[in-house]
Amino acid sequence: MSLDVLQAGPMTSIQDHGRHAHKRFGVPAAGAMDRPALDLANALCGNAPEAAALEFTGLGGTFRAGADMLCAVTGGECQITVEGKTVPSYESFRVSAGDTLRIGALRGAVWGYMAVAGGIDVPQVLGARATHLRFALGGIDGRPLAAGDTLPVGEAEPGIGLRPREVPAPASAELPIRIVAGPQDDYFDADTLALLTSAVFTVSPQRDRMAMALDGQELRAAQGHDIVSDGIVPGAIQVPASGRPMVLMADAQTTGGYPKIATVASVDLPRLAQLPTGATFRFELVSRDRAEDLAIAERARLREVLAGLIPAGRAALSSEFLLSCNLAGGVADPAAVMGDLE
């Protein structure tokens, strides 16, 4: 099976859970900016969470299906059409061989995901299919998709359309983004550390898969802005000599020479990634133990969401449809067809 790219969005790339065995050799993780959204898109198509899918920002692109396939788009509400007919986000839908599929624009979110049953089946590079743009690893020659690409799609059992019980709420800047102090918080004086949690920060337009620059409050490192390089994780809040904080994201390098005042709690990193440019928010300091508790609880909640998917097609719950059920005589209880009617 395959999917032809007729038109690609400005930044549509193949992503999965990323590379996690080669950081000691300088290989960044890459992978989805919003992993829960990727996992949901995959689950809606019956894929394993780590299957590769398309990540896009703004517009996803226009595609032609090479075979009948089941697709789903998550990350945010998105305009999607199949042969000109609108289909919903957060719900798997069927595309027939030869159909044209348009993805975009995404609303109220930054990173969208389109999964296809069977997964995008490009070869693994260093254990993952995720694209790292700067080092040209994975995906299609390590680059964003372009018109004319043909994406191989894995074989899949014919699945049914699914949706979650509740559509995930858009990322909100109302709640603070939680952080754990360190590793170099002692490079900053008490006043600066207080500013970190009292100031209002703004998501600047300088953002990509490597980092998000924050405006609103410059931070000065009393001990200087150069350290002997040490290890980095996505979520690290690095403060270079300009004083402008940078939150490192999925494509971040493995090592760096700027002090890192704090690290975004893993539970809140996908939410930060999805905040629109110009959004304002605060940081809230939590202990490492608390951040771990939050991560554990969030993963349990997400597993529950994936385990509780219900058949899609609520839109078809019309009297005509119910009548057809009765006429067919096979199914008397619409809930058995539709799943949860809440």
């Binding site: 065995a21 050799f25 300088g26 690893l137 590793p183 002997v228 390089s229 893993s266 771990e292």
Partner: protein, 249 residues
């Protein structure tokens, strides 16, 4: 405010104070042995990475050795940070840095040429002939302190002081893979083409990183490197990369 903790036994190093374990969010921590570029500090970083490899608790994901610290990633659903910290303290108590020396690589280098574009200017600035600079660079033994910045990018310590050279204020855009660099007191073997503010004096035909090779990465932190001057013809004929001596540890 100090987010680090020190081991109960007060383990210290002679170079820059106590070992500290610093939180890196809820999925990693940094074991910091010092804040300087120092061979003994780096030896302890590598020793801890080795000790963790042979005594890896469930939930330990991966480690990243750097000049002076070891980043340790974990899955908090399986291994809580507090438990990992206790495990690390136990390993630090009995840390053996007397392990066998790392693998020795003799790396062929064509000095000068298009990739070694700074050779002549650098020699002139140092008041020596290009030949003398090449001899000084290739007589030294280097230590791979860490792999970082880019896949396979090899940071080397052991550059003779006479060759220390500040970085350029404006990076050059297209330095090729295999370029042999000098940045401040450090030396490098560049692994991927890209921009760099370092000075470059030659190029090795070896590729420190090749994702299509059975062993994608040649060098690892703790290895030793010596450079062997070769002609372009010799470089073409040079055997495929392998270390001269396997690590016996």
């Amino acid at each position: 405010m100090n987010s680090g903790t020190t081991p109960e036994n007060g383990a210290t190093d002679d170079h820059s104070g106590a070992v500290r374990i610093l939180p890196v969010g809820d999925t990693a921590m940094t074991v910091q042995f010092g804040e300087v570029v120092d061979e003994e500090v780096n030896r302890r970083v590598i020793a801890l990475a080795e000790a963790l490899r042979s005594a890896a608790p469930d939930g330990l994901l991966e480690t990243v050795p750097t000049y002076r610290s070891l980043l340790v990633s974990y899955d908090p659903e399986i291994l809580r940070g507090a438990a990992l910290e206790r495990h690390l303290h136990g390993l630090l108590d009995g840390l053996d840095t007397g392990a066998a020396p790392g693998r020795l690589w003799r790396v062929p280098v064509v000095y000068g040429g298009a990739a070694g574009l700074d050779l002549e200017e650098l020699a002139e600035a140092k008041g020596m002939s290009p030949e003398a600079l090449i001899k000084m660079h290739s007589d030294a033994e280097y230590r791979v302190y860490m792999i970082g910045f880019a896949p396979g990018f090899t940071y080397l310590g052991g550059l003779p002081e006479a060759l220390h050279t500040p970085r350029l204020s404006t990076p050059r855009l297209d330095i090729p893979a295999g370029a042999i660099g000098i940045g401040g007191q450090q030396a490098s073997i560049n692994s991927v083409a890209g921009p760099s503010g370092w000075r470059f004096i030659g190029q090795t035909p070896w590729r420190a990183f090749d994702p299509d090779r059975a062993e994608p990465f040649l060098f690892a932190a703790g290895d030793r490197v010596r450079f062997v001057p070769v002609t372009e013809d010799e470089a073409r004929a040079f055997a495929s990369p392998r270390p001269e001596q396997e690590n016996l540890s």
